[in-house]
Symmetry: none
Subunit: 202 residues, 4 copies
């Protein structure tokens, strides 16, 4: 992250926190309004009441600015309901709400798409994996509770749960309806819970 460094000992005028905030805010506003590919650094500067150099002093490129702004958008939020199904339904239900209340639904695909053809977006990977951390945590709790097999491929299980949302988000112009969460989690969870051994026993 490029938050104003705490490191001291720098001479000269310190970087303005207000400018930093104004830039991030303007970026998020504009992402909502015009989308990612129509976003220009010049418009961000104008909206934030800031010179372009002030932006480039903090971020090396427009992309990295947007990645940082994206980092302020709501991610999966950890919830411990006591059961895996409860955790997943709550977490994903809340997360989906963000698609309608923040530019997340456009920014996330845009950045992911850009990452595919850009090499400078290693940063993006870290942001993404951090954002999915609560999901991993929920699975680990389930393992600890003995709710799922100990040798469960947690990464794959996570992808299975999140997959349908990703597919609809990327491949569909339509909004994702919140009601889909329950059947979606249910179906994915059956696949996850029914370990091969259990399946053969039944």
């Amino acid at each position: 992250m490029s938050a104003p460094p705490e490191t001291a000992a720098t001479a000269g005028r310190p970087r303005s926190r207000e400018a930093h905030r104004a830039i991030i805010d303007a970026t998020l506003e504009l992402l909502s309004e015009v989308g990612f590919s129509a976003l220009t650094v010049e418009s961000v500067a104008a909206r934030a009441g800031v010179g372009k150099a002030t932006i480039y002093r903090r971020w090396a490129s427009k992309l990295l600015l947007v990645v940082d702004a994206f980092g302020e958008l709501p991610a999966l939020e950890d919830v411990d309901t006591g059961s895996l199904q409860g955790d997943l339904e709550t977490m994903l239900g809340r997360y989906i709400e963000n698609f309608n209340t923040t530019p997340l639904a456009t920014v996330l695909p845009s950045l992911a798409g850009e990452r595919a053809s850009s090499s400078e977006l290693d940063v993006f990977d870290q942001v993404l994996s951090r954002r999915r951390e609560p999901l991993r945590a929920a699975f680990q709790r389930a393992v600890a509770r003995g709710e799922v097999a100990a040798d469960l491929d947690i990464a794959l299980a996570g992808d299975l749960v999140v997959g349908p949302i990703a597919v609809r988000l990327y491949f569909t112009g339509a909004r994702i309806h919140p009601d889909i969460v329950v059947p979606m989690v249910e179906m994915a969870l059956r696949g996850i819970l029914a370990s091969p051994k259990a399946a053969s026993e039944s």
Copy 2:
């Protein structure tokens, strides 16, 4: 699609099929070489040995050109092995190979990302749903065989199967290893096959 229209009787010199092909081919080549966001219409024109106007006469924007070129990249390929699991493993296995042999792995996320913040990509939706049609067909065969419940939500089932691939494609820089297909299909399929009714019966 902007394939030369079947409508006849147009006055004037007809549009050149060679130019059309050369443009699409150049686009695909350049997508492989430099990726989507570094692709320029000018470079396509130069590579195809074509004037820019000839491109813009056919496609209103770089984006629509790329969508059309994308339409020529390999999609899911229908295979009927007799079992749902066989179908899915074969289809997805083959499809994943394309990520390493075509620009698909960069173009698909790029276009999906662009669609999120662009309104002119309605076309893209049609292309995408056509490309997924074989998946739907495989599920319908399974329904006909009684292999899965008749009231299965086929769209959701499809998303569940494809989801993990999408997640890894979009959110990871890493290549998708072909070996993941078998466990991936297995896990998804367990969720799909274990219908609520069957589960309560057992």
Copy 3:
């Protein structure tokens, strides 16, 4: 213009002459309306109801077309009043009228200007010298009458008479007022008539 030709003749060039006229007329109209530098061959073709190829079959370039069209604009008109002064005043007076009734005032400078930086306008020279021929003729009559010195540099004399008009036409946006002709001719003529010998005798 697309009405079926009345000519009974079969193949060949049934509309050839009409097309030629239509092209020249359209060119002159458009020169009046939009001026030389905004004139496009495409607009001429459209106005004339003619294909571009039909124009290029006759003229090698837009410039040569305009030169030809220019050739149809009124030139100096030979008049024999019996005296040099009478000839010049009449001829120039009439000529100046054309500046207000034809696109001459814009086309002539435009072509002259183009000639300066274009090598293909040799043709233009011939057209120009033909257009000035009546002036030369008037001077030769004056020589024959003994009205001017036999060794008069007729070319220079012509330039002197026409010069002020040229200067005003080229260097001034203002229209040339017809009343200027009389004093202009008078002043030039005094320079021409007062031969060095006559001057020394007086």
Copy 4:
């Protein structure tokens, strides 16, 4: 003229004087080499080592740029020899030399021709009249000396002297030979000096 304004206190980075000079110089060079109508803004930018936007920031069009560059080409140069004839012969003689040493011979007709069909060239008029100022001054000195009639139409007299040069410059591809100056001035001057009154006296 677009010389850097004297107005102070403008925010932001000031416009580069070097860029300005480089653009004008490149324009003049290219005018010499390829002529007016083959001059492109892109080539000027390339030659000057400047972005196109830097040119368009200063001049609204190629035409206005060339007008400004033209303003730096040598004009009539005021000379006071004591006699009108001496002044004119010297001034015009020197001026004609410029036709062979600068792009003047092509730029002047080109601009004049363009002015005829373009409304944005009001600027050009001012440049032209400033350039002819020395001629007017010479005539006024002659009036003061009593060398010519006090009521002489100076504008007309100027046009008469300059006229033959203009005619040959515009209507002839041939170079203007310096030797023509003496007879040309002589003939024009006789017309100017021989006032109507003097003529009637003789």
